[in-house]
Amino acid sequence: MPVFEAKDIYKKFDKTEVLKGVSFSIEEGEVLSIIGSSGSGKTTLLRCVNFLETPDLGQFYLRGNLLFDASDKKGISEKEIRQKRLHFGMVFQSFNLFPQYTAFDNICLAPMLLAKSRPDYKKNKAIIKDEIEHNAESLLKKVGLSDKMDNYPCQLSGGQQQRVAIARALALKPEILCFDEPTSALDPEITVEVLAVMKELAAEKMTMLVVTHEMGFAREVSDKVIFMDDGVIAESGTAEEIFGNPQTKRLREFLSVMK
């Protein structure tokens, strides 16, 4: 059973239809890359998955259970959205680290706030805090930034900031980690260090949904690739199929431009 499934997602902004019936699924431990030209709707799709946008139509399923249904007339409360979001982590193109916190505190902030709503928080305050801080330390180590723990975002390079952002997303132990063009704001030479972290996560069988322009990465790391064009999935398949044997003219054109 797929860990996550999107069914017939539609999304309109004013009169522009950005998503016109997008369906896909992702298996546990898989890396699914979404490629396509700007304006094809891939970022919007990812933002829908993270509840940053609400689809007009369609459903999301998590491990076979309905997570979200756009036709649900009751609507869905802030609190529910907050809980559902926690299944997903999100890494943004522009990092969006909190500038007033150190790398370490960026990672600890959300887990600490969430812990406060735990019923046993008062009783086990010290233990919980310890756990969160310990976890943050090991995440920073994992992304290779143990020595930058006390640095503020403005003291870090773009690549370092993005690695902190990845650690911050991992701190909440999401089931699926989403990346929205994580290297697009970076210099090519710095891109490598972020991609290396992502490859490591893929090797550890982290389920990942990656919107990317890095064709090399998509080809090397992805289990499945979706090519989006004009709000629909124009082609999908394994990395080998998409890059080795593209079926549609649009994809062939796109790939030849991206080379």
Binding site: R82, M90, F92, A110, L113, P153, R168
Partner: protein, 242 residues
């Protein structure tokens, strides 16, 4: 009149200026926030109401606003609140004519209240626009990053947005705060015995003009102090960039 005596009279006046300054800030700084939030409200009528109020308050001279607050309750509604305050004070307190600070304050209590209301509303409106600009200048990404980490809207505001906004508004707020101490001189239009009023009184009664110019030194020194303090605050927030 000796230099020392004049200094004493002016210092008393400046204390009244400072009282207006401090109370205006104590009311205006928090009051600006709900006005800013209304100006950004998704509910259109509230937004228009708030923007209209801000437009009027920023569009009319503060001196005129003092007159309006002071006289309109009596003229329009037959309820001269501030004159009533004065009457109440006269009936219930013994006021000497010695020119002592507390006597001066008591004697002008009604007018002082009117001035404080006018100043607080006026400055709250200016502050609200600074807050609004500050809040709107924070990138959407900061809110979204907080949201995807499962924070509530209020947590995002308090833990992520607020300090960034404060950092951005310190310089424009410093400007307004420095303007405020000088604006307190407007209170003399309804004879509040602040420092300029005191200097003018000396000019009238003792035929000396130099205290009026001397009063500028008080403002100057205080603004110098403010500049140092606000500069320190700005520096303190220098540890991060956003």
């Amino acid at each position: 009149m000796s230099f020392y005596d004049v200094t004493l009279v002016l210092a008393n006046g400046f204390i009244i200026s400072l009282i207006i300054f401090v109370i205006t800030l104590l009311i205006g700084i928090p009051l600006g926030l709900p006005i800013a939030l209304c100006s950004m409200s998704k509910f259109a009528p509230l937004r228009y109401l708030s923007k209209t109020v801000v437009w009027i308050v920023r569009g009319v001279p503060l001196m005129l606003q003092i007159f309006i607050i002071y006289y309109v309750p009596g003229l329009l509604f037959g309820n001269p609140i501030f004159a009533n305050i004065d009457r109440y004070i006269i009936d219930n307190f013994t006021i000497s004519n010695s020119g002592g600070l507390s006597d001066m304050i008591l004697k002008s209590m009604g007018g002082l209240c009117a001035v404080l209301i006018a100043f607080s509303i006026n400055y709250a409106c200016y502050f609200s626009e600074i807050y609004r600009g500050g809040i709107e200048s924070i990138s959407k990404g900061q809110y979204e990053a907080g949201q995807v980490l499962g924070m509530t809207k209020s947590q995002v505001f308090r833990k992520v947005i607020l300090l960034q906004v404060i950092k951005r508004i310190v310089p424009p707020m410093s400007n307004e705060i420095i303007t405020l101490i000088k604006d307190t001189a407007l209170a003399n239009c309804i004879t509040i015995p602040e420092i300029i009023m005191q200097a003018k009184n000396l000019a009238a009664s003792k035929q000396i003009i130099w205290p009026l110019f001397y009063s500028g030194v008080f403002y100057l020194l205080f603004v110098g102090l403010l500049t140092i303090l606000l500069g320190r605050l700005e520096k303190k927030l220098d540890y991060f960039r956003s």
